[in-house]
């Protein structure tokens, strides 16, 4: 009698253990699945959302800051054509733009994202052969996995003027630059019409 009882008890224990294992395995599976899900898209969390960058760029288009930024072009005494106030390179490498001697677009982007994120701004243009080439405006380093970007097109015309470091027109038009052998602008005139070049300004934030 006691032998049967012990056997039954062991069977109950084994079945209870089996049931517990099934429940625990199910729980572990569920927890693992939930933890994995947010990263299903493969990216790590970004400090900004794509729509924020898009919105900032659209604001820049509507108040003409994007176009002025592309025309913020200087030629220093060493005859090196570059954006105003760039140091070693033709583009900006710092990520903070707070004074008026930087393009208003960069100041606006820095106000919006500067405290939490890094950014790069690239200007794509058509070269003389019709292919698309690029000129960096800001190089913030290598974008991380969660980088988001937005871009917009900007058309330059022959009569558009290069702006000075305060953002005011200099009186030197792109047509003047094109015909002046000592002046250089990163994008060439690709049309015999009044259209000078069509650019794509891309902002990458991470």
């Amino acid at each position: 009698m006691s032998g049967r009882g012990e056997t039954r008890g062991q069977v109950f224990t084994l079945e209870g253990l089996l049931a517990a294992i099934v429940v625990i395995v199910a729980l572990v599976f569920a927890l693992q699945t939930v933890v994995v899900t947010p990263a299903t898209s493969g990216g790590s969390a970004s400090p900004v959302e794509s729509r924020e960058v898009d919105s900032a760029l659209r604001a820049g288009v509507s108040n003409d800051q994007v176009k002025r930024a592309t025309l913020f072009w200087d030629r220093d005494t060493a005859d090196l054509a570059k954006f105003y106030n760039t140091a070693r390179f033709r583009y900006y490498t710092r990520s903070s733009f707070q004074s008026g001697t930087y393009p208003g677009l960069l100041i606006a982007l820095d106000d919006r994202f500067g405290s939490t994120a890094s950014m790069s701004v690239i200007v794509h243009y058509h070269d003389g052969s019709g292919a698309v080439a690029s000129q960096r405006l800001v190089d913030g380093g290598a974008p991380s996995e969660g980088a988001v970007s937005a871009s917009t097109t900007v058309t330059l015309f022959d009569q558009d003027e290069i702006v000075d470091e305060n953002g005011a027109p200099t009186g030197t038009t792109l047509a003047d630059v094109e015909t002046n052998s000592s002046a250089r602008f990163y994008a060439p005139d690709v049309s015999s019409s009044d259209v000078y070049n069509v650019l794509r300004v891309e902002v990458i934030v991470w």
């Binding site: 069977v11 209870g16 097109t153 009569q159 049309s191 019409s193």
Partner: protein
């Protein structure tokens, strides 16, 4: 003795329920329960997983799928064509001797649209979208001719022909039954702060209702420039500009007075077409520019013609030159999820 409720020993029998779960059946029930619970948890996980995944996809979804990219492309094209119009109006002069005096503007626009469209197309192609811009072939739908009415030298805003008279006429029509864009004024000073203030009036052609912008110097010291927007003689809103010792610039469509945003100007809303009239123009000095559409193809304006038969510009004589008021282009956007085609009528800075 066997009792009705007991066995032979007199003990009460176990309940029948206990009988059913006794023995191996109890273990099987536990196992089955565990399986049900496990399947339930996994099912719940899938539901939660699907929900979270949907949310993740929705948040990471690009504007291309939502259509936001199409609108952004449209906005960029609209800005580009608007800039193109401005550039053309700056680059070309009227050609009064030609049969079609606006042909230089039109030809330049037609020549510029293909390279512009090619550039836009190439850039969007890298993202897998087709964006194209074309100008309609029909002149009547593609272009809206116009005039730039202006006073480039600083002078009184009185009727031009009477400015040297002893008593200049301050009330005169600058534009009749038209639409206006890029209206800009630069006020040097008010002649007398005690006389009625200068007003630019927009009288709607259909209703006769009058919208007005009144600009004056505050007489108190230190006074500032002051602006009021009025409808049918009643002040709707107002704003204060820079000190009156400085000239002040008024950009009507940008709603800027003295360089700062003036909310009152956003409330100005005349229904086109309208007549633009200066009142008390002899009480202020400055400059102005405005682009006016050519409502009637009745040739270049000249002074002295009766309003009923004459052109709508220059009735009371002022400076003017030909310009393109507006253009229409066909805009096409195609992506994997969005097809969007529309005609864009572009006349930047229209009031």
């Amino acid at each position: 003795m066997v009792t009705p409720d007991g066995d032979r020993s007199g003990r009460r029998p176990r309940a029948r329920t206990d009988d059913r779960i006794a023995g191996p059946s109890r273990g099987q029930l536990l196992l089955a329960g565990a399986f049900v619970l496990a399947v339930g948890i996994i099912g719940l996980t899938f539901v939660l997983n699907t929900s979270v995944q949907t949310n993740t996809l929705a948040e990471s979804e690009t504007g291309i799928a939502r259509g936001g990219d199409a609108l952004a492309a449209r906005q960029a094209v609209r800005a580009d064509i608007g800039d193109f119009l401005t550039a053309l109006n700056r680059a070309y002069d009227e050609d009064g001797g030609a049969t079609d005096p606006w042909h230089e503007y039109r030809d330049a626009f037609r020549a510029g649209v293909p390279p512009l469209a090619r550039g836009v197309r190439d850039h969007h192609a890298t993202g897998g979208r087709l964006v194209n811009v074309t100008a309609p072939s029909a002149l009547a739908t593609a272009f809206e001719d116009g005039f730039r009415v202006k006073q480039e030298t600083t002078d009184s805003f009185a009727k031009p022909a009477t400015r040297t008279a002893v008593d200049p006429v301050g009330q005169w029509r600058v534009v009749r039954d038209s639409r206006v864009r890029n209206a800009t004024f630069r006020f040097e000073r008010e002649v007398s702060t005690s006389d009625p203030a200068f007003r630019v009036v927009f009288e709607e052609s259909a209703s006769g209702d009058e919208w007005a912008i009144e600009v004056f110097e505050q007489p108190t010291t230190p006074g500032n420039w002051r602006l009021e927007v009025q409808f049918e003689g009643s002040t709707v809103d107002s704003c204060t500009g820079p000190p009156r010792s400085n000239a002040v610039r008024l950009d009507v469509d940008d709603a800027r007075f003295g360089g700062d945003y003036c909310p009152a100007l956003s409330r100005l809303d005349p229904e086109p077409t309208y007549t633009v009239e200066f009142r008390n123009g002899d009480n202020v000095r400055g400059q102005f520019w405005m682009l006016v559409d050519r409502q009637r193809p009745d040739g270049p304006p000249s002074s002295g013609l009766p309003p009923a038969v004459g052109p709508q510009v220059g009735i009371d004589s002022t400076e003017y030159e030909r310009a393109l008021y507006g253009v229409q282009v066909a805009f096409r956007y195609h992506s994997s999820t969005v097809d969007y085609e529309t005609d864009l009528v572009i006349a930047p800075g229209e009031i």
